[in-house]
């Protein structure tokens, strides 16, 4: 299946997981739901309130950033690693399209009234900025995007960086629905955020190993069931198959499309 003999497989150890949706506010809840448990039935929460952010940062940060920072905190907490020493990568197809909507609406009518806070919150690396400030982290942070392949692109870059630099790395993927005229052309209809702490070397923190390889793209059936629902409504949730594998502790192979003509082939192996 691999495209040529040079296509190496990169192995990463998954150490920590975070997740958030308005109805499933953390990884243990999403995990149990993916295993078949009923949704907790608590009232949906429009946006999380990550305590790692200062009160003023929580007020200023847009919903996309709150979601990203919340899942990042969950994943790091699970590993007991020092967040200030872990490089981070934030993958999001759209960043915060609600802010883009508001900026473009202001520019169309009163361009001189653009809010400086909205403007700096609109940068694609806003979440990386808030996260590194909140954790006092001076390690590298990045932000990338790749249309519907954003989660897979983030995972590939995370694996590449973790290996090349022999470092654990925090990867976050998140998208929130926009508002206004952009809404109808964007794929994300419901909010979703998840985080994975990956490492190039095995430690006692590892819960699973993922062997990642680039292979030629093959059309496959969409995910069914609950995981499929999430993936259909949020670009960042297209990586949900990997979270499902973690939830079900199911070893095996899954594929995530990473570019128009290539997939990531991911062999998952779980550890006691």
């Amino acid at each position: 299946m691999s495209m040529s003999p040079q296509h190496k497989s990169l192995s990463v150890w998954l150490e920590g997981v975070g997740a958030w949706t308005p109805e499933l506010p953390d990884w243990p809840t999403l995990r149990d739901w993916l295993r078949g448990a009923p949704a907790p039935g608590v009232e949906a929460v429009d946006k999380p309130r990550p305590t790692v952010l200062s009160a003023s940062a929580r007020r200023r940060a847009p919903r996309s950033v709150l979601a990203a920072v919340d899942v990042a905190s969950q994943a790091v907490a699970m590993t007991h690693r020092d967040a200030s020493r872990v490089p981070s990568l934030f993958a999001t197809a759209q960043g915060d399209s609600g802010i883009v909507d508001s900026i473009c609406a202001t520019l169309a009518t009163h361009p001189g009234e653009l809010s400086p806070t909205r403007f700096h919150n609109s940068v694609h690396n806003a979440a990386a900025g808030y996260w590194t400030m909140a954790t006092g982290c001076h390690a590298a942070s990045s932000a990338l995007t790749a249309f519907g392949y954003t989660f897979a692109a983030g995972l590939l870059e995370a694996a590449s960086t973790a290996h090349a630099q022999s470092t654990p790395l925090l990867m976050v993927s998140y998208d929130v629905p926009g508002c206004g005229p952009l809404t109808e052309i964007l794929a994300t209809k419901t909010p979703f955020a998840c985080a994975l702490l990956v490492a190039a070397e095995r430690s006692e923190r590892a819960v699973a190993r993922a062997d990642i390889q680039l292979v030629r793209h093959v059309e496959r059936d969409a995910l069914a069931g609950r995981a499929g629902q999430l993936a259909a409504n949020n670009v960042s949730a297209r990586g949900i198959g990997l979270l499902q594998s973690l939830a079900l502790r199911r070893s095996g192979v899954l594929y995530l499309q990473v570019a128009p003509q290539i997939d990531l082939k991911i062999c998952m192996e779980h550890h006691p």
Partner: protein, 404 residues
């Protein structure tokens, strides 16, 4: 010699590169502009409402037509990307590499800050019953990845394609990503670069932060008062050194976060220093081996004061330094790649570009700052890129012969 943090960082050949900015199209116009110290900046004739400032505008983008099969990508940013691909034989060099490696073994790693948002702004000015107008009602020109996806399509490359957007360091980070991916064996070569085009959100956005100068920017001048926004594109083809032994090399890179403020640099340049030290360390360099530094030098009070003090405490007198933003303006997400190419030109042409716009330099950088363009042997050069969110990158380049 410094101890390497990442001893396995392997130099890469920059086997082709090109730059397009307000100074002109292609490398030769930039060499000429730097020699004669001509600025590409002029009074703002872009914004629809009056805004007193200078801009770096690439002439003729309004008249560029993308070929029929690329119409879905048509927007100012991708037109600039397309124009850049045609310069300096860059596209032919990529075709050659594609034939050697296979299209799926090459990545496209692009950097931009605002990307194609100009299309979205345009749509909001002429909504049709609350909807984007029908002629631009599709996602491929309203998402940041428009750039990376378009470049991959235009170059017929089918490997990993991503768009990095970390504000003004975006297209410097892609050089580091390419080095890591090649070292891991994921790909054999990469097209890296950045494209940023003029749009209203950045003009008014930086203006709302009171960071835009009312005149042409004057990096490191004691009287500087802000940036001049420019549009531009820088592109490079990176592959293993064995494939192009005479080509200049990417020796090292460093990346860091300030963890300080969303829009202001750390007052002591802490993150910037970490990035520079890492680039030196993993390039196997020490500060005294550097001949030229292309500074971030935006022209804001804060950035230049911090960067001037940093260079002062880190580098010996022998090092020459300048900002080239007086020529091109601040090309934001494209600045990393545009200035990487200008740095490569300094290496290839043995010239140190003068810091255009500065008459009286900040005291802290007076001993390093090159006020006039001069011929000088340049073997090793750095380029700094610092972005909002405290995102810092430093790249280290060298002549092909320096590490042979």
């Amino acid at each position: 010699m410094a101890t390497s943090l990442h001893p396995s960082v392997t130099p890469l050949a920059v086997s082709a590169c090109t730059v397009t900015s307000a100074l002109g199209q292609g490398k030769a116009t930039h060499v000429e502009g730097m020699h004669t110290m001509q600025s590409g900046l002029h009074a703002n004739d872009f914004s629809l409402t009056p805004l007193t400032c200078h801009i770096g505008r690439v002439e003729g983008l309004e008249h560029i037509e993308l070929p029929g099969d690329h119409k879905m990508w048509d927007c100012r940013n991708n037109r600039l990307g397309w124009l850049a691909l045609q310069q300096d034989g860059f596209r032919d060099a990529v075709v050659g590499a594609r034939q050697r490696y296979g299209s799926e073994r090459m990545a496209v790693l692009a950097g931009t800050s605002a990307g194609s948002i100009g299309s979205t702004e345009d749509g909001y000015r002429r909504l049709e019953s609350g909807r984007l107008p029908e002629d631009i009602r599709w996602p491929s020109i309203h998402c940041l990845h428009s750039l990376g996806a378009f470049l991959a399509a235009a170059l017929e490359l089918t490997g990993p394609a991503m768009t990095v957007s970390t504000a003004c360091s975006s297209s410097a980070k892609v050089f580091a990503m390419a080095e890591r991916m090649i070292r891991c064996g994921l790909i054999d070569a990469a097209v890296v670069g950045g494209v940023e085009s003029l749009c209203h959100s950045v003009l008014h956005g930086f203006n709302s932060l009171q960071l835009v100068s009312d005149e042409a920017c004057r990096p490191f001048d004691v009287e500087r008062n802000g940036i001049s926004i420019g549009e531009g594109a820088g592109l490079a083809l990176l592959e293993r050194v064995e494939s192009a032994t005479g080509a200049p090399r990417l020796l090292g890179w460093g990346e860091s976060s300030d963890a300080w403020h969303m829009t202001a640099p750390h007052p002591d340049g802490l993150g910037a220093e970490l990035a520079i030290r890492e680039a030196l360390d993993n390039g196997g360099l020490d500060a005294g081996m550097v001949d030229y530094i292309n500074l971030h030098g935006t022209g804001t009070r804060n950035n230049d004061a911090v960067e001037a003090r940093l260079v002062d405490r880190m580098f010996p007198d022998s090092v020459r330094a300048s900002s080239t933003k007086g020529y091109t303006g601040h090309t934001l997400g494209a600045a990393g790649a545009v200035e990487a190419v200008l740095t490569l030109l300094a290496l290839q042409q043995d010239l140190v570009p003068g810091n255009l716009g500065c008459r009286t330099p900040e005291v802290a950088c007076a001993r390093h700052l090159a006020l006039e363009t001069r011929a000088r042997h340049v073997c090793v050069a750095l380029t700094n890129s610092f972005g909002f969110g405290g995102n810092n990158v430093c790249l280290a380049f060298a002549k092909g012969s320096a590490t042979a």
